[in-house]
Amino acid sequence: MRREQAADWTGIVGGIVLLAGSLTYVFVREWTPTVVGMLAAGGLGIAVYFALSWQDLARGSGGRRLLEGANIVSYTLVVLLILGFANYLGYKHNARFDLTKEKLRTLADESVKVARLFQHPVTVTGFFTGKRNNQRDEFEDLLRRYAAVNPRITYTLVDPERDPVTAQKYNVNMDATVVLETAGKKNSLTETTEEAVTNAFLQLAGEEKTVCFMIGHGERTPTEFKDQGYSDLSHDLLEKNFKTRTFELLKEQKVPDECTVTVLAGPKGHLLEGELALLNAYLDMGKPMMVLFDPLSDSTAASLLVPYGITVRKQLVIEPMSALARLSEVAPLIGLDGYNREHDVTKDIDFNTVFPIAMPLWLASPAPAGVTLTWLLKTSPDSWAETDLTKGTAEYIAGVDPKGPLTLAAAVTKGNTRILAVGNSAFVANSYLKEIAPNEIFFVNGLRWLVGQENLISIPVKQRKSQPLTITDAQLSQIAVFFWLILPGAFVLAGLGMWWRRRGL
């Protein structure tokens, strides 16, 4: 009797400790020494309970017990094997039935086609912070559907706060960043809709693009590691399937054939007539170009854009709104209403971008024949363009200094030609890139638009049908009471009724 009681108490205490250890793990989500210790101690208690309890069962013929034990083990193994095989088959060849009316949990046909493109393993790493993260759960659900279509697609979710090493390895500095990798290529995105993810897959499956930076006139280059260079940008572009290189136009006498897009990153010196002619010929062939100007340079590169309706003057944008973000007024901050929501480059940018030392672009109105000229970024109405750069201070003079909103970036389309012009080249330099992550998003969006990748696939966002409640406050209270009290209470009353009936018998 004593041993039985001891066994029971050991089991109960062991079980409680085991439970406490499990619940502790549920909350801390880490295998701390305390958690491991509690689980071990609890497990030991349970094991002792069984050892003490089963000593009673040790009576009886040894041979028969052995046979019985062997029987149970072998049957169990066979059952496990059969069930394991059935589950394996079920895992490999499963069928999904999305019972929602709007087919919310089913990939669009385009997504299925894109997912099936991959013949090599694709790894998707999602960086989401926090234990409870609805966006992460939805994203995981989405990835599971891609993985179900193509098992070569696998995914991992990383919390950058708990695993900063991996986050750093992937150069992640924004929450909800997703990195896709396959066969040495990478792509990353910060949007987790089905359309964005499918497009990212498509870009990954596609050919690598080459971004060519012209040099020879004091431009910023992707090989420059100092503050003013673009080496960090170049590294990040590689992850998005954009290779970078430089070229000297005079030496090569043309823009290299491998260039998918050309960038003039803040030329300081003048371009020769011959160089301008080569670049014009390049544009006339329908090739894309990004031109980044700086206000303190008077490079003749600006003349490239005159036929397309964009002119620049030696002016400096002064933005008082920047002071709200503790920035200098010569570093214009673009507010959320400063983005053109009609254009693919800027329609989805939900963060502020900053352009240190910028000049405004003047767009002709009407635009030249055959040209579509669209503003992309605008400063606030309180900004102005300082025309006197010699006095050293910024002071608005009405009638002299143009008042905002001022255009900081514009997109040009003429036939097949696409140009993206920005009145600043420092916004993606090494000194600013990591500090102002949205700047890079704008740059990459611009590149993608230039190379025609801006909207490869358009997948309408699936939304649940709205089910508004037409309910008065009184009805709401009645429903709440029904949910909280009446239904559970009815259950208790049924129990009391049973008890009363039993008493009556």
């Binding site: 089991g11 439970l19 499990s22 059952v79 079920g90 929602t100 696998t154 409640l469 239904l487």
Partner: protein, 253 residues
């Protein structure tokens, strides 16, 4: 079949006269009602009428909590299934009657399962009630998207059935109901948490597959995946098999 039906009737009779059944049933319904009621009030108070509110989201949220609630309550339903028989010494008596171990296992499992189906089916009244107050332009049963609700309920039955089968096994190991409950909760937690083991390792998909909670997620979202159905049926079969082995081995002694 008659033996199984008799066992089911006997077990359900015991449950209907037990305090624990009504006590935990009340707690379960109270918590569910509380969760959905609070969410509803917050939604309605915080949003303009006709805003992008979806009753469906509310129902989905309700079912998403069932996984953890059942984990906490079902051990107290299953703990007595076999432990009580062992404690009272009625198991040997049961084996003297023309009843096999398999029939005992199946009968006890089905009794607990039917009660689970009943208690977890009661909250289905909530979407019915809410249907009165949404989309008056549509016919009554067209006001909500019901197939995902049925999918979620199927998930509840499969998940709950898995817990019941495991609980039955643990109950068969001991004569002490409390230990049976503790072992059951431990087992449920193990199979709930195992999905996060092996993070970053190649075995991670295997551990995720073993997690009982992983397979519940699709059902809550209105998706029935044959892989999940096979998992749950296998899980139930395995633990019933083990319970049967345990019960029969005691019948021999």
């Amino acid at each position: 079949m008659r033996a199984v039906t008799a066992i089911i009737k006997k077990e359900m009779g015991v449950y209907f006269h037990s305090f624990i059944f009504y006590f935990f049933g009340f707690i379960f319904l109270f918590i569910v009602g509380d969760l959905i009621g609070l969410t509803l009030v917050n939604f309605v108070k915080g949003m303009p009428m006709g805003g992008a509110f979806s009753v469906q989201v509310l129902i989905e949220g309700m079912f998403s909590y069932f996984g953890i609630l059942l984990l906490m309550f079902l051990p107290f339903y299953t703990m007595r299934l076999m432990a009580e028989e062992r404690r009272q010494g009625t198991l040997e008596l049961l084996f003297t009657s023309p009843v096999t171990g398999a029939q005992i296992t199946l009968g006890k499992f089905l009794a607990a399962f039917l009660l689970l189906a009943g208690i977890t089916g009661l909250p289905l009244l909530y979407p019915v009630v809410l249907s009165f107050f949404t989309r008056p332009d549509a016919s009554f049963f067209a006001r909500l998207d019901w197939p995902p609700v049925w999918a979620a309920y199927l998930g509840v039955l499969l998940l709950g059935g898995s817990y019941v089968a495991m609980g039955l096994f643990f109950s068969s190991l001991t004569h002490n109901q409390l230990i049976a409950a503790v072992l059951s909760i431990g087992g449920y937690l193990f199979f709930w948490l195992i999905g996060s083991a092996g993070q970053g390792s190649p075995l991670q998909p295997f551990f995720r597959y073993l997690s009982i909670g992983t397979h519940y997620e699709d059902f809550v979202r209105g998706v029935i995946n044959t892989q999940d159905v096979i998992f749950y049926l296998s899980f139930i079969f395995l633990w019933l098999f083990l319970a049967n082995r345990s019960i029969e081995s005691q019948g021999w002694r």
